[in-house]
């Protein structure tokens, strides 16, 4: 049999250590979804184009479909399920609700994670900062509400 990797290193996801049995060429997205059972990060393209799979790795937004799970070992991985703290919504999640941002919603968890990375770096982003950071695809076209919600969260 091929594709049987070495023992998969442990992944720290939302503060919990996971011992996942996946092949070593497995993208982080599928380790999260099929391995850890965390389906908040979505599959949209598999080639890092759409951003639906965005998660934080050591605070940076990464498109988890094009990052190997092994390369995230030893790092701090945060998914949408772990964005809020102690059962409370993150300011972005609350702003998303207040601005009624999602339509179909499929891209929105990735959108929120990209925004979380932006606010970490730039707590009060300008429109230009938002333009540059928010490159995820939303086919429903929620961009106006996304922009408004990020500004609102930044002020929260």
């Amino acid at each position: 049999m091929d594709s049987v990797g070495k023992a998969m290193p442990k992944l720290t996801i939302n503060g919990k250590v996971h011992d996942l049995d996946v092949a070593e060429d497995t993208p982080l997205l599928w380790a999260l979804r099929d391995g850890a059972g965390l389906t908040g990060a979505k599959y949209g393209c598999g080639i890092g184009q759409c951003g639906a799979c965005t998660v934080l790795v050591d605070g940076e937004a990464v498109r988890s479909c094009v990052v190997l799970a092994v390369d995230a070992a030893g790092k701090d991985i945060v998914t949408i399920e772990g964005l809020g703290e102690k059962g409370r919504l993150h300011a972005l999640q609350q702003a998303w609700i207040d601005h009624d941002v999602p339509q179909c919603g499929y891209c929105q968890t990735g959108m929120i994670m990209a925004a979380a990375a932006l606010l970490r770096r730039t707590p009060r982003p300008s429109d230009a900062d938002i333009d540059a950071a928010m490159t995820n695809i939303c086919r429903c076209g929620t961009y106006q509400q996304v922009r408004a919600a990020i500004h609102a969260a930044a002020k929260a």
Binding site: D2, S3, T26, G40, G46, C50, I137, C138
Partner: protein, 718 residues
């Protein structure tokens, strides 16, 4: 107050069971005798379940794919129910139960911008019927006449005595009463829930990752399958060698689905994908293996002058009018095939046991999905069930149930094992139900006063319905109905020559208004300039007298400041359509740089009159969202064909607008109200964005772009 007669067939099926407390002749799948929700709460009517804790569960037949229909339908039911909106939740009605109960919830189809407007009469009656039953139960409990009671937000009051009862307290008794034959609906001016910009009901789980889409379904013992269909439509699967695929850890088996496709079944997506890439497959590409975009374009161009055309809309003598015109212009436009590319690729999860077949899937038509499950499983529909999930986008693609059929055909080969069958993005791009490609040849003649004396429009391209007299191709160009042409042209001929390729066509948000609005509204603009007239003034002069069409044009123009010059370097364009029963107009404002190769959209003002509005906040979102969808196509997208197959395989070659490219969209929601018929919301506005932008581009550059997408001309949206 309006009093309406309830259709007995529609409500009494549920009501008969309720009246006796017995499920007479009705057995719901899953052994659910009697009218109770799964948690045991009383079902007041088929549409309304009220729990003891006062939660009001509204059953929804249509699908939620982002367009807000779930919330809008719940608003309509809640309005005539007079319940407390903060206690309302919505759940999908079961397609199998609908079948078993004589289609008590009506049509499940969610397309054609029909979700709300086609449901309006009966969902309001459903709310009113439940209200009447709850009031009757309260009256009996209090020993008073129901006419002595009032209700607000689910609290029933007997003013003379001050006694109150809640809906939750009387729901059990109400559920045992017969459904009334007549109900009273609230007049529009007393609406407090419907018509309001309320928040959507489905938002919270969508921001926490808790929302389960089809891709996220997990069942005990479930396996994951990935589909590979023949890359060329019309070809077939000859054979495959699975040895290398089966060597991948976690792969269970490789199964043939049908004549054209197979699936790799594994313990998860990644092993299945790894195995799929290692499969050795022999295809017979069939008779379409030589087709390419150039051959398709030649076929359409030939159709522009062919004799086999069918009339769509005509008046007077177009040929005579053109030859006698003081000034004559002509132009040819073209529009490509497009994939829907919803963010969530096609998928379905199926469990076949030999006696039953269950499917979990995102679908725009739960009943059609049920039919597909029955047909593929070979079981009667009564032994099947479809568990609907919110769609990660639909846009028309999920009106087809091909992915449901595939999932059931695979599950049938693995009885007892739930199979989640997924399409990769590449499979989704290759197996689309494509927006039809179309070309148009337009000739227009102006009289000495600069009015349109004659117009001919020849359409040539793919018919979605697949026949030469397809009426849908005339969306926005028709003489009557809900997609009307709208200009008073004395000599008119609009006809269509069907030219189909091997690709499977489908209903893509807006359908044929996408290209027809460009053809007509850009050519009207060309005529306005040829006449030396302002494009707005020219349109207003040529309109056929429909005041609602004039009103949206004037409203959009006024808000956009049409009569005043735009800021330096900015240019405006205008367009209007009437489609899906709604009137829409838009003014786009843009600037260009790099010799017209870079376009920046600053602002689009849109006015829409859909007759009536259930949730204005959601209407605004549908307008701006439709612009993203339509303008992504205008600037960036085409599905092209080489060797019979689709060239664009993913978002790298089939790009979509990003946030930075989004203009500011201002929406004027101006429903005519009164006796106006209900129009659609999800689709009509998509038509105006592209021609308004193209007309603004002409204002900026003096160049007409007539070939979509604009990327072909090297024009980029920045």
């Amino acid at each position: 107050m309006a009093t309406v007669q309830i259709d007995r067939r529609r409500l009494l099926v549920g009501g008969a069971a309720l009246g006796t407390g017995l499920a007479v002749g009705i057995r719901l799948p899953g052994a659910r005798p009697g009218a109770r929700a799964e948690d045991g709460s009383p079902e007041v009517t088929a549409w309304v379940v009220i729990r003891p804790d006062e939660t009001v569960v509204v059953r929804i037949a249509r699908s939620e794919m982002g367009q807000g229909t779930l919330t809008g339908l719940a608003q309509l039911v809640a309005e005539d129910l007079d319940c407390d909106w903060s206690r309302v939740t919505a759940e999908y009605a079961s397609p199998a139960a609908n079948l078993a109960r004589g289609r008590v919830w009506g049509d499940f189809g969610t397309g054609g911008s029909q979700g709300l407007r086609a449901s309006v009469p009966y969902v309001r009656e459903a709310g009113a019927a439940a209200r009447s039953m709850l009031m009757a139960a309260a009256a009996a409990r209090l020993g008073v006449d129901a006419s002595a009671l009032t209700v607000a937000k689910g609290v029933i009051t007997h003013p003379p005595s001050g006694r109150t009862l809640t809906y939750g307290a009387v729901a059990e008794a109400a559920a045992k009463l017969p459904v009334p034959r007549r109900v009273t609906l609230k007049p529009r001016e007393r609406w407090t829930i419907a018509g309001q910009p309320l928040k959507r009901l489905d938002t919270p789980p969508k921001v926490t990752g808790a929302q389960v889409y089809g891709f996220d379904v997990r069942l005990p013992g479930m396996v994951t399958g990935l589909v590979q269909d023949c890359p060329v439509t019309g070809g077939r699967l000859v054979r495959f060698d699975a040895a290398k695929a089966l060597a991948v850890k976690g792969v269970r088996q490789v199964v043939r689905i049908d004549d054209t496709s197979l699936a790799v079944v594994a313990d998860g997506f990644w092993p299945a994908k790894t195995a799929l890439d290692r499969l050795e497959i022999t295809w017979d590409y069939g008779p379409n293996a030589a087709v390419d975009s150039a051959s398709i374009a030649r076929s359409l161009t030939e159709g522009l002058a062919a004799a086999d055309a069918n009339d769509g809309n005509s008046a007077g003598d177009a040929a005579g009018g053109l030859s006698g015109a003081a000034k004559r212009i002509e132009a040819t436009y073209s529009y490509p095939y497009l994939n829907h590319a919803p963010m969530e690729p096609m998928n379905a999860t199926a469990l076949f046991t030999g006696e039953r077949c269950e499917v979990w899937c995102p679908t725009q038509n739960g009943e059609a999905a049920l039919e597909a499950a029955a047909s593929a499983s070979g079981l009667p529909a009564a032994k099947c069930e479809v568990h609907k999930l919110h769609l990660g986008g639909g846009f028309g693609r999920r009106l087809a149930q091909d992915y449901v059929t595939q999932a059931v055909l695979v599950a049938k080969q693995m009885p007892g094992t739930p199979v989640k069958l997924l399409w990769t993005r590449e499979e989704d791009m290759a197996r689309g139900r494509y927006h039809p490609a179309m070309q148009a040849r337009l000739e227009g003649g102006l009289d000495a006063n600069g009015r349109i004396a004659a117009l001919s429009v020849r359409l040539a391209g793919h018919s979605i319905l697949g026949f030469a007299k397809d009426p849908l191709v005339f969306q926005g160009l028709a003489a009557r109905g809900e997609h009307r042409f709208g200009y008073a042209v004395p000599n008119l001929k609009i006809d269509y020559a069907m030219r189909n390729s091997h690709l499977k066509p489908g209903f893509w948000r807006g359908v044929n208004i996408n290209q027809n609005a460009i053809f007509l509204e850009c050519f009207i603009d060309e005529l306005a300039h040829a006449a030396g007239k302002d494009p707005l003034a020219f349109r207003l002069e040529m309109l056929d007298g429909d005041v609602r069409r004039r009103a949206v044009l004037e409203a959009a123009a006024a808000r956009a400041g049409w009569g005043t010059p735009p800021a330096a370097g900015r240019h405006r364009g205008i367009a209007q359509v009437m489609t899906f029963g709604s009137y829409v107009a838009a003014v786009a404002e843009l600037s260009v740089s790099d010799d017209g190769r870079r376009v920046k959209l600053h602002r689009i003002v849109a006015a829409t009159d859909p007759g009536h509005v259930v949730n204005p906040a959601q209407v605004e979102r549908q307008v701006s969202g439709s612009f993203v969808y339509g303008l992504s196509a205008l600037f960036l997208q085409a599905c092209t064909v080489e060797k019979g197959r689709i060239v664009e395989t993913n978002f790298d070659s089939f790009d979509s607008m990003r946030l930075a490219q989004m203009p500011e969209v201002e929406t004027i929601v101006m429903p005519a109200g009164g006796n106006a018929p209900w129009g659609g919301v999800g689709e009509p506005t998509i038509g105006v964005a592209a021609p308004a932008v193209l007309n603004a581009y002409f204002a900026a550059t003096g160049k007409r772009l007539r070939d979509v997408p604009l990327s072909k001309a090297g024009v980029r949206l920045v």
